[in-house]
Protein backbone atom coordinates (compact mmCIF):
# COMPACT_ATOMS: atom_id res chain seq x y z
CA UNK A 1 0.00 0.00 0.00
CA UNK A 2 2.74 2.33 1.08
CA UNK A 3 4.62 1.37 -2.06
CA UNK A 4 1.77 2.30 -4.37
CA UNK A 5 1.37 5.57 -2.54
CA UNK A 6 5.05 6.31 -3.03
CA UNK A 7 4.82 5.36 -6.70
CA UNK A 8 1.84 7.64 -7.15
CA UNK A 9 3.65 10.46 -5.47
CA UNK A 10 6.71 9.91 -7.62
CA UNK A 11 4.64 9.86 -10.78
CA UNK A 12 2.86 12.99 -9.71
CA UNK A 13 6.18 14.65 -9.03
CA UNK A 14 7.56 13.56 -12.38
CA UNK A 15 4.50 14.85 -14.20
CA UNK A 16 4.74 18.21 -12.46
CA UNK A 17 8.44 18.38 -13.15
CA UNK A 18 8.00 17.66 -16.85
CA UNK A 19 5.09 20.10 -16.88
CA UNK A 20 7.35 22.80 -15.49
CA UNK A 21 10.03 21.84 -17.97
CA UNK A 22 7.71 22.22 -20.98
CA UNK A 23 6.38 25.48 -19.59
CA UNK A 24 9.90 26.80 -19.51
CA UNK A 25 10.77 25.71 -23.02
CA UNK A 26 7.66 26.94 -24.77
CA UNK A 27 7.97 30.50 -25.97
CA UNK A 28 5.73 33.14 -27.41
CA UNK A 29 7.31 35.67 -29.73
CA UNK A 30 5.43 38.77 -30.80
CA UNK A 31 6.07 40.49 -34.12
CA UNK A 32 4.86 44.06 -34.36
CA UNK A 33 5.67 45.90 -37.61
CA UNK A 34 4.49 49.41 -38.46
CA UNK A 35 1.90 47.90 -40.78
CA UNK A 36 1.32 44.43 -42.17
CA UNK A 37 0.34 45.52 -45.66
CA UNK A 38 3.79 46.09 -47.12
CA UNK A 39 6.17 43.83 -49.00
CA UNK A 40 8.99 44.61 -46.56
CA UNK A 41 7.09 43.80 -43.38
CA UNK A 42 5.65 40.68 -44.98
CA UNK A 43 9.13 39.57 -45.99
CA UNK A 44 10.36 40.08 -42.45
CA UNK A 45 7.49 37.97 -41.23
CA UNK A 46 8.37 35.17 -43.63
CA UNK A 47 11.99 35.41 -42.51
CA UNK A 48 10.95 35.15 -38.86
CA UNK A 49 8.60 32.25 -39.57
CA UNK A 50 11.29 30.36 -41.47
CA UNK A 51 13.77 30.81 -38.66
CA UNK A 52 11.24 29.45 -36.15
CA UNK A 53 9.80 26.73 -38.39
CA UNK A 54 11.67 23.78 -36.92
CA UNK A 55 11.08 24.96 -33.34
CA UNK A 56 7.86 23.28 -32.26
CA UNK A 57 7.80 24.98 -28.86
CA UNK A 58 7.70 28.52 -30.25
CA UNK A 59 4.57 30.32 -31.34
CA UNK A 60 4.59 33.61 -33.20
CA UNK A 61 1.84 36.18 -33.33
CA UNK A 62 1.85 39.35 -35.38
CA UNK A 63 -0.27 42.45 -34.95
CA UNK A 64 -0.96 45.37 -37.26
CA UNK A 65 -0.11 48.81 -35.86
CA UNK A 66 -1.71 50.51 -38.89
CA UNK A 67 1.11 53.07 -39.14
CA UNK A 68 -0.09 54.82 -35.96
CA UNK A 69 2.32 55.13 -33.03
CA UNK A 70 -0.56 55.28 -30.53
CA UNK A 71 -1.87 51.93 -31.76
CA UNK A 72 1.59 50.42 -31.70
CA UNK A 73 2.07 51.46 -28.07
CA UNK A 74 -1.25 49.84 -27.16
CA UNK A 75 -0.20 46.64 -28.88
CA UNK A 76 3.15 46.63 -27.10
CA UNK A 77 1.22 46.85 -23.81
CA UNK A 78 -0.84 43.92 -24.92
CA UNK A 79 2.18 41.75 -25.74
CA UNK A 80 3.61 42.65 -22.32
CA UNK A 81 0.37 41.87 -20.47
CA UNK A 82 0.00 38.57 -22.28
CA UNK A 83 3.42 37.54 -21.08
CA UNK A 84 5.15 37.19 -24.42
CA UNK A 85 8.76 36.06 -24.07
CA UNK A 86 10.30 38.28 -26.74
CA UNK A 87 9.10 41.03 -29.05
CA UNK A 88 10.35 41.86 -32.53
CA UNK A 89 9.33 45.45 -33.16
CA UNK A 90 9.60 47.88 -36.04
CA UNK A 91 9.05 51.16 -34.16
CA UNK A 92 6.96 53.65 -36.08
CA UNK A 93 8.84 56.34 -34.23
CA UNK A 94 11.94 56.15 -32.08
CA UNK A 95 10.78 58.55 -29.37
CA UNK A 96 7.19 57.34 -29.23
CA UNK A 97 8.06 53.68 -28.69
CA UNK A 98 10.89 54.21 -26.21
CA UNK A 99 8.62 54.11 -23.16
CA UNK A 100 7.02 50.87 -24.37
CA UNK A 101 10.34 49.20 -25.08
CA UNK A 102 11.58 50.26 -21.65
CA UNK A 103 8.47 48.82 -20.02
CA UNK A 104 8.89 45.48 -21.81
CA UNK A 105 12.57 45.20 -20.98
CA UNK A 106 11.93 46.07 -17.32
CA UNK A 107 9.58 43.07 -17.20
CA UNK A 108 12.31 40.87 -18.61
CA UNK A 109 10.98 40.74 -22.16
CA UNK A 110 13.80 41.34 -24.64
CA UNK A 111 12.88 43.64 -27.52
CA UNK A 112 14.61 43.38 -30.88
CA UNK A 113 13.95 46.37 -33.07
CA UNK A 114 13.96 46.35 -36.85
CA UNK A 115 15.33 49.33 -38.79
CA UNK A 116 14.49 52.01 -36.19
CA UNK A 117 16.41 52.14 -32.93
CA UNK A 118 14.78 53.62 -29.81
CA UNK A 119 16.27 56.16 -27.39
CA UNK A 120 17.03 53.80 -24.50
CA UNK A 121 19.06 50.57 -24.59
CA UNK A 122 17.33 47.27 -25.36
CA UNK A 123 18.39 43.84 -26.57
CA UNK A 124 19.28 44.49 -30.20
CA UNK A 125 18.49 46.46 -33.34
CA UNK A 126 18.74 44.64 -36.66
CA UNK A 127 18.84 47.46 -39.14
CA UNK A 128 19.42 48.32 -42.72
CA UNK A 129 21.99 51.06 -42.76
CA UNK A 130 19.53 53.77 -43.81
CA UNK A 131 21.91 56.72 -43.86
CA UNK A 132 24.68 54.70 -45.50
CA UNK A 133 22.35 53.31 -48.12
CA UNK A 134 20.98 56.77 -48.88
CA UNK A 135 24.55 57.90 -49.34
CA UNK A 136 25.19 54.98 -51.68
CA UNK A 137 22.17 55.84 -53.83
CA UNK A 138 23.33 59.45 -54.13
CA UNK A 139 26.79 58.34 -55.25
CA UNK A 140 25.24 56.20 -57.97
CA UNK A 141 22.93 59.00 -59.08
CA UNK A 142 25.78 61.50 -59.08
CA UNK A 143 28.01 59.26 -61.15
CA UNK A 144 25.35 58.50 -63.74
CA UNK A 145 24.47 62.19 -64.14
CA UNK A 146 28.11 63.15 -64.51
CA UNK A 147 27.89 65.39 -61.47
CA UNK A 148 25.31 67.81 -62.91
CA UNK A 149 21.54 67.96 -63.09
CA UNK A 150 18.22 68.32 -61.33
CA UNK A 151 17.04 65.82 -58.75
CA UNK A 152 13.76 65.44 -56.88
CA UNK A 153 13.00 63.45 -53.74
CA UNK A 154 9.85 61.54 -52.84
CA UNK A 155 9.84 61.75 -49.05
CA UNK A 156 8.34 59.70 -46.26
CA UNK A 157 5.81 61.30 -43.89
CA UNK A 158 7.32 63.93 -41.55
CA UNK A 159 8.84 62.30 -38.50
CA UNK A 160 9.16 58.83 -40.04
CA UNK A 161 12.69 58.16 -38.97
CA UNK A 162 13.77 55.50 -41.45
CA UNK A 163 12.78 57.65 -44.42
CA UNK A 164 14.35 60.75 -42.92
CA UNK A 165 17.67 58.94 -42.37
CA UNK A 166 17.70 57.77 -46.00
CA UNK A 167 17.04 61.26 -47.22
CA UNK A 168 19.71 62.72 -44.95
CA UNK A 169 22.29 60.27 -46.27
CA UNK A 170 21.28 61.08 -49.83
CA UNK A 171 21.48 64.84 -49.30
CA UNK A 172 24.80 64.58 -47.44
CA UNK A 173 26.44 62.69 -50.31
CA UNK A 174 25.18 65.16 -52.93
CA UNK A 175 26.30 68.16 -50.87
CA UNK A 176 29.73 66.67 -50.34
CA UNK A 177 30.56 65.01 -53.64
CA UNK A 178 28.24 66.50 -56.24
CA UNK A 179 27.57 70.14 -55.33
CA UNK A 180 26.44 70.88 -58.89
CA UNK A 181 23.44 68.61 -58.63
CA UNK A 182 20.41 70.64 -57.63
CA UNK A 183 17.55 69.28 -55.53
CA UNK A 184 14.57 70.90 -57.20
CA UNK A 185 11.82 69.43 -55.06
CA UNK A 186 11.08 67.23 -52.07
CA UNK A 187 7.53 66.20 -51.20
CA UNK A 188 5.92 63.68 -48.88
CA UNK A 189 4.38 60.78 -50.82
CA UNK A 190 3.41 58.88 -47.65
CA UNK A 191 5.25 55.65 -48.57
CA UNK A 192 2.45 55.06 -51.13
CA UNK A 193 2.49 54.17 -54.79
CA UNK A 194 -0.61 56.18 -55.71
CA UNK A 195 0.61 59.20 -53.78
CA UNK A 196 3.96 58.71 -55.55
CA UNK A 197 2.24 59.04 -58.92
CA UNK A 198 0.49 62.22 -57.82
CA UNK A 199 3.61 63.92 -56.44
CA UNK A 200 5.74 62.81 -59.41
CA UNK A 201 3.18 64.31 -61.80
CA UNK A 202 3.52 67.67 -60.09
CA UNK A 203 7.32 67.42 -60.21
CA UNK A 204 7.14 66.65 -63.93
CA UNK A 205 4.87 69.62 -64.62
CA UNK A 206 6.97 72.10 -62.68
CA UNK A 207 10.41 70.90 -63.80
CA UNK A 208 10.93 70.72 -67.54
CA UNK A 209 14.39 69.37 -66.89
CA UNK A 210 14.35 66.63 -64.32
CA UNK A 211 17.19 64.11 -64.44
CA UNK A 212 16.73 61.87 -61.45
CA UNK A 213 14.31 60.99 -58.68
CA UNK A 214 15.07 59.36 -55.37
CA UNK A 215 12.10 57.74 -53.67
CA UNK A 216 12.84 56.68 -50.10
CA UNK A 217 10.96 53.44 -50.64
CA UNK A 218 10.21 51.20 -53.63
CA UNK A 219 6.45 51.75 -53.61
CA UNK A 220 6.94 55.44 -54.28
CA UNK A 221 9.63 54.70 -56.88
CA UNK A 222 7.14 52.52 -58.74
CA UNK A 223 4.63 55.36 -58.57
CA UNK A 224 7.21 57.78 -59.96
CA UNK A 225 7.95 55.36 -62.78
CA UNK A 226 4.26 55.14 -63.75
CA UNK A 227 3.98 58.94 -63.81
CA UNK A 228 7.18 59.39 -65.83
CA UNK A 229 6.16 56.70 -68.29
CA UNK A 230 2.75 58.20 -68.96
CA UNK A 231 4.37 61.61 -69.44
CA UNK A 232 6.73 60.00 -71.97
CA UNK A 233 9.82 61.08 -70.05
CA UNK A 234 10.89 57.78 -68.54
CA UNK A 235 13.93 57.63 -70.82
CA UNK A 236 15.35 60.91 -69.53
CA UNK A 237 14.80 60.33 -65.81
CA UNK A 238 16.74 58.00 -63.56
CA UNK A 239 14.54 56.61 -60.80
CA UNK A 240 15.96 55.15 -57.61
CA UNK A 241 14.01 53.36 -54.93
CA UNK A 242 14.84 51.85 -51.59
CA UNK A 243 14.26 48.36 -50.02
CA UNK A 244 14.50 46.15 -53.12
CA UNK A 245 11.13 44.41 -53.18
CA UNK A 246 10.48 41.76 -55.83
CA UNK A 247 8.29 43.90 -58.07
CA UNK A 248 10.87 46.68 -58.16
CA UNK A 249 13.71 44.27 -58.98
CA UNK A 250 11.63 43.04 -61.92
CA UNK A 251 11.14 46.62 -63.10
CA UNK A 252 14.89 47.18 -62.85
CA UNK A 253 15.42 44.16 -65.08
CA UNK A 254 13.01 45.68 -67.57
CA UNK A 255 15.00 48.90 -67.43
CA UNK A 256 12.09 50.99 -66.21
CA UNK A 257 13.54 51.74 -62.78
CA UNK A 258 17.23 52.55 -62.56
CA UNK A 259 18.08 51.02 -59.25
CA UNK A 260 17.27 50.42 -55.62
CA UNK A 261 19.10 49.90 -52.35
CA UNK A 262 18.35 46.23 -51.84
CA UNK A 263 18.39 44.51 -48.46
CA UNK A 264 17.67 40.85 -47.94
CA UNK A 265 14.58 41.26 -45.78
CA UNK A 266 14.14 37.48 -45.32
CA UNK A 267 17.59 37.36 -43.80
CA UNK A 268 16.94 40.40 -41.67
CA UNK A 269 13.76 38.91 -40.18
CA UNK A 270 15.54 35.61 -39.67
CA UNK A 271 18.43 37.31 -37.88
CA UNK A 272 16.03 39.05 -35.50
CA UNK A 273 14.21 35.79 -34.76
CA UNK A 274 17.47 33.93 -34.22
CA UNK A 275 18.72 36.63 -31.88
CA UNK A 276 15.49 36.38 -29.87
CA UNK A 277 15.85 32.59 -29.62
CA UNK A 278 19.49 32.86 -28.57
CA UNK A 279 18.50 35.18 -25.74
CA UNK A 280 15.62 32.94 -24.65
CA UNK A 281 17.63 29.74 -24.66
CA UNK A 282 20.51 31.46 -22.90
CA UNK A 283 22.95 31.03 -25.78
CA UNK A 284 23.42 34.78 -25.72
CA UNK A 285 23.42 37.23 -22.82
CA UNK A 286 21.86 40.64 -23.01
CA UNK A 287 24.46 43.42 -22.90
CA UNK A 288 24.19 46.83 -21.26
CA UNK A 289 23.91 48.63 -24.59
CA UNK A 290 21.76 47.85 -27.60
CA UNK A 291 23.58 45.52 -29.96
CA UNK A 292 23.37 47.06 -33.40
CA UNK A 293 23.39 44.50 -36.19
CA UNK A 294 23.72 46.15 -39.58
CA UNK A 295 22.47 44.45 -42.68
CA UNK A 296 24.54 45.85 -45.55
CA UNK A 297 22.68 47.42 -48.48
CA UNK A 298 23.35 46.40 -52.05
CA UNK A 299 22.96 48.72 -55.03
CA UNK A 300 20.74 46.75 -57.39
CA UNK A 301 20.90 48.13 -60.94
CA UNK A 302 20.32 46.56 -64.34
CA UNK A 303 23.91 45.28 -64.29
CA UNK A 304 23.92 43.89 -60.78
CA UNK A 305 20.33 42.78 -60.21
CA UNK A 306 21.04 39.31 -61.62
CA UNK A 307 23.24 38.64 -58.60
CA UNK A 308 20.17 38.56 -56.35
CA UNK A 309 18.96 34.98 -56.36
CA UNK A 310 15.31 34.15 -56.93
CA UNK A 311 14.89 32.78 -53.40
CA UNK A 312 16.25 36.01 -51.92
CA UNK A 313 13.64 38.16 -53.67
CA UNK A 314 10.70 39.20 -51.55
Amino acid sequence: MAKTKLMAMLTALLVTASGVATAQTSYKIGYLPSTVGQALTQAWRVGIENALKDKKNVTMQSLDAQMKAEIQVTMMDDFINQGYNAIILQPIDAAALTASVKKAESKGIPVITLNTDTMLPHAACVTMDDTGAGYMVAENVGKSLGGKGNVAILQSPPGAQAGVEREKGFRAALAKQYPNIKIVGAQNAQWNKDKGIEIMNSFLQVNKELDAVFAVNDNMAEGAMIAAESAGRLGQIKIWGFNGQKSTLALIEQGKITGTAYTNAYNQGGMAAKYAMDLLTGAKKKGAATEIIKVPPFAATKDTVAQIKAEDRW
Binding site: Q61, S62, T74, A95, A99, P158, V164
Partner: protein, 334 residues
Protein backbone atom coordinates in the same frame (compact mmCIF):
# COMPACT_ATOMS: atom_id res chain seq x y z
CA UNK B 1 -38.46 50.71 -16.89
CA UNK B 2 -37.79 53.18 -19.64
CA UNK B 3 -36.54 52.16 -23.06
CA UNK B 4 -33.16 53.80 -22.58
CA UNK B 5 -32.66 52.11 -19.21
CA UNK B 6 -33.39 48.70 -20.71
CA UNK B 7 -31.05 49.16 -23.66
CA UNK B 8 -28.36 50.35 -21.29
CA UNK B 9 -28.89 47.22 -19.23
CA UNK B 10 -28.53 45.12 -22.39
CA UNK B 11 -25.26 46.88 -23.24
CA UNK B 12 -23.90 46.33 -19.73
CA UNK B 13 -24.95 42.68 -19.96
CA UNK B 14 -23.13 42.36 -23.30
CA UNK B 15 -20.08 44.07 -21.80
CA UNK B 16 -19.98 41.60 -18.92
CA UNK B 17 -20.62 38.52 -21.06
CA UNK B 18 -17.94 39.46 -23.61
CA UNK B 19 -15.58 40.08 -20.69
CA UNK B 20 -16.45 36.69 -19.22
CA UNK B 21 -15.96 34.95 -22.56
CA UNK B 22 -12.58 36.62 -22.98
CA UNK B 23 -11.41 35.61 -19.52
CA UNK B 24 -12.18 32.00 -20.40
CA UNK B 25 -10.57 32.23 -23.85
CA UNK B 26 -7.37 33.90 -22.67
CA UNK B 27 -5.69 33.50 -19.28
CA UNK B 28 -4.02 36.88 -19.62
CA UNK B 29 -7.27 38.81 -20.00
CA UNK B 30 -8.39 38.87 -16.38
CA UNK B 31 -5.12 40.14 -14.95
CA UNK B 32 -4.75 43.43 -13.11
CA UNK B 33 -2.17 44.72 -15.59
CA UNK B 34 -4.39 44.02 -18.55
CA UNK B 35 -7.53 45.49 -17.01
CA UNK B 36 -5.66 48.65 -16.05
CA UNK B 37 -4.24 49.03 -19.56
CA UNK B 38 -7.73 48.48 -20.92
CA UNK B 39 -9.09 51.24 -18.68
CA UNK B 40 -6.22 53.54 -19.64
CA UNK B 41 -6.99 52.96 -23.32
CA UNK B 42 -10.70 53.54 -22.72
CA UNK B 43 -10.03 56.71 -20.74
CA UNK B 44 -7.91 58.33 -23.45
CA UNK B 45 -10.77 57.90 -25.95
CA UNK B 46 -13.39 58.47 -23.26
CA UNK B 47 -12.24 61.93 -22.18
CA UNK B 48 -12.62 63.12 -25.78
CA UNK B 49 -15.92 61.26 -26.05
CA UNK B 50 -17.39 63.15 -23.07
CA UNK B 51 -16.97 66.47 -24.86
CA UNK B 52 -18.18 64.93 -28.09
CA UNK B 53 -21.35 63.66 -26.41
CA UNK B 54 -22.38 67.22 -25.54
CA UNK B 55 -21.79 68.29 -29.12
CA UNK B 56 -23.88 65.38 -30.37
CA UNK B 57 -26.70 66.23 -27.92
CA UNK B 58 -26.93 69.67 -29.55
CA UNK B 59 -27.30 67.81 -32.89
CA UNK B 60 -23.88 69.10 -33.96
CA UNK B 61 -20.64 67.33 -34.78
CA UNK B 62 -17.02 68.17 -34.04
CA UNK B 63 -14.58 66.76 -36.58
CA UNK B 64 -11.70 68.84 -35.24
CA UNK B 65 -11.11 66.80 -32.04
CA UNK B 66 -8.28 64.72 -33.53
CA UNK B 67 -6.47 67.79 -34.79
CA UNK B 68 -6.94 69.52 -31.41
CA UNK B 69 -5.09 66.56 -29.89
CA UNK B 70 -2.28 67.02 -32.41
CA UNK B 71 -1.90 70.78 -31.98
CA UNK B 72 -2.09 70.60 -28.17
CA UNK B 73 0.71 68.05 -28.05
CA UNK B 74 2.75 70.33 -30.32
CA UNK B 75 2.12 73.32 -28.04
CA UNK B 76 3.32 71.32 -25.03
CA UNK B 77 6.41 69.98 -26.75
CA UNK B 78 7.38 73.47 -27.89
CA UNK B 79 7.14 74.73 -24.33
CA UNK B 80 9.24 71.79 -23.17
CA UNK B 81 11.89 72.21 -25.87
CA UNK B 82 12.26 75.97 -26.02
CA UNK B 83 11.28 77.33 -22.61
CA UNK B 84 12.03 76.50 -19.03
CA UNK B 85 8.47 77.06 -17.89
CA UNK B 86 7.27 74.38 -15.50
CA UNK B 87 4.53 71.99 -16.59
CA UNK B 88 1.94 73.50 -14.24
CA UNK B 89 2.26 76.78 -16.14
CA UNK B 90 2.13 75.57 -19.73
CA UNK B 91 -0.46 72.81 -19.29
CA UNK B 92 -3.21 75.32 -18.39
CA UNK B 93 -2.12 77.38 -21.40
CA UNK B 94 -2.41 74.31 -23.63
CA UNK B 95 -5.86 73.53 -22.21
CA UNK B 96 -6.93 77.11 -22.78
CA UNK B 97 -5.75 76.68 -26.37
CA UNK B 98 -8.17 73.78 -26.76
CA UNK B 99 -11.00 75.96 -25.45
CA UNK B 100 -10.02 78.74 -27.84
CA UNK B 101 -10.22 76.39 -30.84
CA UNK B 102 -13.65 75.31 -29.61
CA UNK B 103 -14.67 78.95 -29.32
CA UNK B 104 -13.61 79.59 -32.92
CA UNK B 105 -15.64 76.56 -34.06
CA UNK B 106 -18.66 77.74 -32.09
CA UNK B 107 -18.31 81.31 -33.29
CA UNK B 108 -18.27 80.36 -36.98
CA UNK B 109 -21.18 77.96 -36.49
CA UNK B 110 -23.40 80.45 -34.67
CA UNK B 111 -22.39 83.83 -36.10
CA UNK B 112 -22.18 82.83 -39.75
CA UNK B 113 -24.79 80.07 -39.45
CA UNK B 114 -22.47 77.56 -41.12
CA UNK B 115 -22.97 73.78 -40.97
CA UNK B 116 -21.06 72.26 -38.03
CA UNK B 117 -19.51 69.53 -40.14
CA UNK B 118 -17.99 71.96 -42.64
CA UNK B 119 -16.65 74.36 -40.02
CA UNK B 120 -15.02 71.68 -37.89
CA UNK B 121 -13.69 69.82 -40.92
CA UNK B 122 -12.03 73.05 -42.03
CA UNK B 123 -10.51 73.67 -38.60
CA UNK B 124 -9.35 70.06 -38.60
CA UNK B 125 -7.39 70.64 -41.81
CA UNK B 126 -6.00 73.97 -40.66
CA UNK B 127 -4.92 72.59 -37.29
CA UNK B 128 -3.34 69.49 -38.81
CA UNK B 129 -1.24 71.78 -41.00
CA UNK B 130 -0.40 74.09 -38.11
CA UNK B 131 0.69 71.09 -36.05
CA UNK B 132 3.25 70.23 -38.73
CA UNK B 133 4.45 73.84 -38.86
CA UNK B 134 4.68 74.01 -35.07
CA UNK B 135 6.47 70.67 -34.80
CA UNK B 136 9.99 70.77 -33.42
CA UNK B 137 12.51 70.46 -36.27
CA UNK B 138 16.09 69.28 -36.31
CA UNK B 139 18.92 71.35 -37.81
CA UNK B 140 18.08 70.18 -41.33
CA UNK B 141 14.43 71.04 -41.05
CA UNK B 142 13.05 67.54 -40.60
CA UNK B 143 10.30 66.99 -38.04
CA UNK B 144 11.87 65.62 -34.88
CA UNK B 145 9.77 63.83 -32.31
CA UNK B 146 11.16 65.01 -28.99
CA UNK B 147 11.71 62.46 -26.26
CA UNK B 148 10.01 64.20 -23.29
CA UNK B 149 11.90 64.08 -19.99
CA UNK B 150 9.97 66.74 -18.04
CA UNK B 151 9.12 64.89 -14.81
CA UNK B 152 6.04 66.90 -13.89
CA UNK B 153 4.63 66.46 -17.38
CA UNK B 154 5.40 62.75 -17.44
CA UNK B 155 3.68 62.24 -14.08
CA UNK B 156 0.39 62.54 -16.00
CA UNK B 157 1.14 59.14 -17.46
CA UNK B 158 1.77 57.55 -14.07
CA UNK B 159 -0.50 55.48 -11.85
CA UNK B 160 -1.97 55.92 -8.38
CA UNK B 161 -1.70 52.43 -6.93
CA UNK B 162 -2.52 50.26 -9.93
CA UNK B 163 -4.90 52.81 -11.51
CA UNK B 164 -3.68 55.19 -14.18
CA UNK B 165 -4.28 58.87 -13.40
CA UNK B 166 -6.01 59.28 -16.75
CA UNK B 167 -8.62 56.71 -15.67
CA UNK B 168 -9.37 58.60 -12.46
CA UNK B 169 -9.66 61.88 -14.35
CA UNK B 170 -11.95 60.23 -16.88
CA UNK B 171 -14.40 59.01 -14.26
CA UNK B 172 -14.34 62.26 -12.30
CA UNK B 173 -14.92 64.26 -15.47
CA UNK B 174 -17.71 61.89 -16.51
CA UNK B 175 -19.41 62.26 -13.13
CA UNK B 176 -19.11 66.06 -13.14
CA UNK B 177 -20.39 66.36 -16.70
CA UNK B 178 -23.32 64.07 -15.99
CA UNK B 179 -24.24 66.25 -12.97
CA UNK B 180 -23.92 69.34 -15.12
CA UNK B 181 -26.20 67.94 -17.82
CA UNK B 182 -28.92 66.65 -15.51
CA UNK B 183 -28.85 69.03 -12.57
CA UNK B 184 -28.09 72.48 -13.92
CA UNK B 185 -30.07 74.88 -16.02
CA UNK B 186 -27.21 75.20 -18.50
CA UNK B 187 -27.29 71.42 -18.88
CA UNK B 188 -30.99 71.49 -19.67
CA UNK B 189 -30.30 74.22 -22.22
CA UNK B 190 -27.91 71.84 -24.01
CA UNK B 191 -30.68 69.26 -24.44
CA UNK B 192 -33.22 71.92 -25.44
CA UNK B 193 -30.89 73.42 -28.05
CA UNK B 194 -30.43 69.98 -29.60
CA UNK B 195 -34.08 68.96 -29.49
CA UNK B 196 -35.54 72.13 -30.95
CA UNK B 197 -33.33 75.16 -31.44
CA UNK B 198 -36.10 77.48 -32.60
CA UNK B 199 -38.41 76.69 -29.70
CA UNK B 200 -35.48 77.05 -27.30
CA UNK B 201 -34.59 80.45 -28.70
CA UNK B 202 -38.20 81.60 -28.49
CA UNK B 203 -38.43 80.46 -24.88
CA UNK B 204 -35.48 82.66 -24.00
CA UNK B 205 -32.54 80.24 -24.11
CA UNK B 206 -29.39 81.79 -25.51
CA UNK B 207 -28.71 78.95 -27.96
CA UNK B 208 -25.66 80.64 -29.48
CA UNK B 209 -23.99 80.87 -26.12
CA UNK B 210 -24.91 77.26 -25.35
CA UNK B 211 -23.44 76.08 -28.65
CA UNK B 212 -20.22 78.03 -28.25
CA UNK B 213 -19.88 76.67 -24.72
CA UNK B 214 -20.39 73.11 -25.90
CA UNK B 215 -17.72 73.39 -28.61
CA UNK B 216 -15.32 74.99 -26.13
CA UNK B 217 -15.88 72.06 -23.79
CA UNK B 218 -15.25 69.63 -26.63
CA UNK B 219 -11.98 71.40 -27.45
CA UNK B 220 -11.02 71.36 -23.78
CA UNK B 221 -11.64 67.61 -23.49
CA UNK B 222 -9.57 66.86 -26.58
CA UNK B 223 -6.72 69.04 -25.27
CA UNK B 224 -6.89 67.28 -21.91
CA UNK B 225 -6.71 63.86 -23.57
CA UNK B 226 -3.76 65.07 -25.63
CA UNK B 227 -1.72 65.84 -22.50
CA UNK B 228 -2.35 62.37 -21.11
CA UNK B 229 -1.50 60.82 -24.47
CA UNK B 230 1.79 62.72 -24.78
CA UNK B 231 2.72 61.86 -21.20
CA UNK B 232 2.00 58.21 -21.82
CA UNK B 233 4.02 58.08 -25.05
CA UNK B 234 6.78 60.31 -23.66
CA UNK B 235 6.72 62.20 -26.93
CA UNK B 236 4.47 64.30 -29.12
CA UNK B 237 3.88 63.72 -32.79
CA UNK B 238 2.20 66.06 -35.27
CA UNK B 239 -0.22 63.31 -36.30
CA UNK B 240 -1.33 62.42 -32.78
CA UNK B 241 -5.05 61.79 -32.58
CA UNK B 242 -5.70 62.44 -36.25
CA UNK B 243 -7.89 59.54 -37.34
CA UNK B 244 -9.01 58.78 -33.79
CA UNK B 245 -12.27 60.67 -34.42
CA UNK B 246 -13.88 57.46 -35.61
CA UNK B 247 -13.23 55.66 -32.32
CA UNK B 248 -14.70 58.57 -30.41
CA UNK B 249 -17.79 58.72 -32.61
CA UNK B 250 -18.24 54.94 -32.37
CA UNK B 251 -17.98 55.04 -28.56
CA UNK B 252 -20.57 57.78 -28.24
CA UNK B 253 -22.98 56.20 -30.71
CA UNK B 254 -22.68 52.73 -29.14
CA UNK B 255 -23.39 54.50 -25.84
CA UNK B 256 -26.77 55.54 -27.18
CA UNK B 257 -26.41 59.22 -28.07
CA UNK B 258 -27.86 59.53 -31.58
CA UNK B 259 -26.84 62.00 -34.28
CA UNK B 260 -30.28 63.57 -34.20
CA UNK B 261 -29.68 65.45 -30.94
CA UNK B 262 -31.75 66.20 -27.88
CA UNK B 263 -31.05 62.92 -26.08
CA UNK B 264 -28.14 60.98 -24.64
CA UNK B 265 -26.02 61.19 -21.53
CA UNK B 266 -22.53 60.62 -20.21
CA UNK B 267 -23.07 57.24 -18.54
CA UNK B 268 -24.02 55.83 -21.93
CA UNK B 269 -20.80 57.23 -23.37
CA UNK B 270 -18.77 55.71 -20.53
CA UNK B 271 -20.29 52.31 -21.23
CA UNK B 272 -19.78 52.76 -24.99
CA UNK B 273 -16.12 53.66 -24.50
CA UNK B 274 -15.54 50.68 -22.24
CA UNK B 275 -17.32 48.46 -24.75
CA UNK B 276 -15.14 49.54 -27.66
CA UNK B 277 -11.94 49.32 -25.60
CA UNK B 278 -12.94 45.85 -24.42
CA UNK B 279 -13.46 44.62 -27.97
CA UNK B 280 -10.17 46.11 -29.12
CA UNK B 281 -8.31 44.64 -26.18
CA UNK B 282 -9.99 41.26 -26.50
CA UNK B 283 -9.35 40.90 -30.19
CA UNK B 284 -5.61 41.12 -29.60
CA UNK B 285 -5.82 38.18 -27.23
CA UNK B 286 -7.50 35.83 -29.66
CA UNK B 287 -4.53 35.40 -31.95
CA UNK B 288 -6.50 36.36 -35.04
CA UNK B 289 -4.72 37.32 -38.24
CA UNK B 290 -4.10 41.08 -38.37
CA UNK B 291 -6.09 41.21 -41.60
CA UNK B 292 -9.19 39.88 -39.85
CA UNK B 293 -9.00 42.06 -36.72
CA UNK B 294 -10.33 45.35 -38.13
CA UNK B 295 -13.14 43.45 -39.88
CA UNK B 296 -14.21 41.87 -36.58
CA UNK B 297 -14.13 45.21 -34.76
CA UNK B 298 -16.12 46.91 -37.52
CA UNK B 299 -18.56 43.99 -37.60
CA UNK B 300 -19.21 44.12 -33.87
CA UNK B 301 -19.88 47.86 -34.01
CA UNK B 302 -22.34 47.41 -36.87
CA UNK B 303 -24.13 44.55 -35.10
CA UNK B 304 -24.36 46.52 -31.84
CA UNK B 305 -25.78 49.59 -33.54
CA UNK B 306 -28.24 47.54 -35.64
CA UNK B 307 -29.43 45.68 -32.54
CA UNK B 308 -29.73 49.00 -30.77
CA UNK B 309 -31.76 50.67 -33.51
CA UNK B 310 -33.93 47.57 -33.89
CA UNK B 311 -34.62 47.40 -30.17
CA UNK B 312 -35.46 51.08 -30.00
CA UNK B 313 -37.92 50.71 -32.88
CA UNK B 314 -39.39 47.60 -31.29
CA UNK B 315 -39.78 49.29 -27.91
CA UNK B 316 -41.42 52.34 -29.44
CA UNK B 317 -43.84 50.21 -31.43
CA UNK B 318 -44.72 48.23 -28.35
CA UNK B 319 -45.25 51.40 -26.37
CA UNK B 320 -47.64 52.79 -29.01
CA UNK B 321 -49.46 49.46 -29.17
CA UNK B 322 -49.93 49.37 -25.42
CA UNK B 323 -51.07 52.97 -25.44
CA UNK B 324 -53.61 52.19 -28.20
CA UNK B 325 -54.89 49.19 -26.32
CA UNK B 326 -55.31 51.28 -23.22
CA UNK B 327 -57.14 53.89 -25.26
CA UNK B 328 -59.39 51.24 -26.75
CA UNK B 329 -60.07 49.78 -23.34
CA UNK B 330 -60.84 53.20 -21.97
CA UNK B 331 -63.32 53.82 -24.83
CA UNK B 332 -65.04 50.49 -24.23
CA UNK B 333 -65.30 51.36 -20.58
CA UNK B 334 -67.08 54.59 -21.52
Amino acid sequence: MSVSAIRRLILVGLLISIGAALSIASPSFLTLDNLMTLLQEASLTGIVAIGFTLVLITAGIDMSIGAVIAITSMVCVNFISYTHLPAYVFIPIALAGGCLIGWVNGFFITYFKLPEFIVTLATRGILAGLALIAAVKDDQGFVKNVFIQDEVFLSFGETVGPVYIVTIVFFVLAFATQLFLKRTRAGTNVYATGANPTASRLSGINTDRTLIGVYMFSGFCAALASIFLSARMMTAMPDFGIGSEMDVIASVVIGGTPFTGGVGDIWGTVIGTLFLALIKNGILKLGLSPYIQPIVIGGIIVVTVIADVWYKGFAEKRATRIARQKQALAKEGV
